[in-house]
Symmetry: C2
Subunit: 170 residues, 2 copies
């Protein structure tokens, strides 16, 4: 299974691609790619959105994931920030839909719990655990890329849990 | 000049296409098309956004406007509504960008002023004036379609004002 995580942001949108390699003894997670798409501030909004859409579409076509995972909606931000984030999020979800990919959403608490084992974990703890779980020397930069990998890892863990639950019921 | 107005909404997104016909004596506004794109509530968000995007893209390709006009950002809504609206707005702006069209934004007050002559006008007054200015027997349904026509009319009036100002300076 290959998961494409997206961490939508108004200034920078992170992405991270994680492969699950199931071996005879253990399941390994491998970071295939990660990065951040920075928005040029001097461009009109619709052109910035076109850039994000084109880049995400190219990345999805290149990496051909099985699923796209995004951070779920949280409402601690104000209306102005929420609208700005919504623009980027809408375009990211559209890119996934046009590639025919299913989309999974995870709440910020769920993502931190899945990666650190603690929902209120600090940003640095998440970054540290992302690097450890993926056998990287250090968390990838920018921070949004590491966050996107965390979202992808959350999906893998959740999918594994669901599959184990299904097996135990069978 | 042909203007494509979009009134982004979470439940229904209105569109309205207005032509400007410049005659020897007067400038006429003609409603070419108007309608509303309703979102199916039982579908996942990314598929609903894909529907809006496909419909808007098809309409832009069919009507080939010179410019797209949208309602500017307003922050009277709460964060939850703003994020939902942002998803739709992001996809609408992207559809315009991918057709290579310029996008003009107008504040709600500006739109009402341009159509009714009064920024605090009621919704019904806007609908009435949209029908009058476009020589229609009644305002098109749904209300979002009439609102989209109002946005397009606002762009026409603003563009005419700017052009008159430029002439008077020349």
């Amino acid at each position: 299974m290959r998961v494409f995580g997206i961490d939508c942001g108004t200034n920078c949108t992170g992405y991270g691609v994680v492969d699950v390699q199931v071996g005879p003894r253990e399941t390994r997670l491998v970071a295939v790619a990660a990065g951040g798409l920075r928005l040029a501030k001097d461009q009109p909004l619709h052109l910035r959105l076109a850039y994000i859409f084109a880049e995400l579409t190219a990345l999805l076509e290149m990496h051909r994931p099985d699923v796209v995972a995004v951070e779920g909606v949280f409402y601690s931000v104000n209306a102005k920030s929420a609208l700005k984030l919504g623009h980027v999020r809408g375009v990211a979800l559209l890119a996934a839909a046009l590639q025919g990919l299913p989309v999974a959403e995870y709440a910020p608490l769920t993502i931190k719990s899945a990666v650190v084992g603690y929902g209120m974990a600090q940003k640095e703890q998440v970054q540290y655990m992302v690097a450890r779980l993926l056998n990287l020397d250090h968390a990838p930069k920018p921070a949004d890329a590491a966050d996107a990998l965390a979202i992808a890892i959350c999906h893998v863990h959740t999918a594994q849990t669901l599959s184990l639950q299904a097996e135990s019921r069978a």
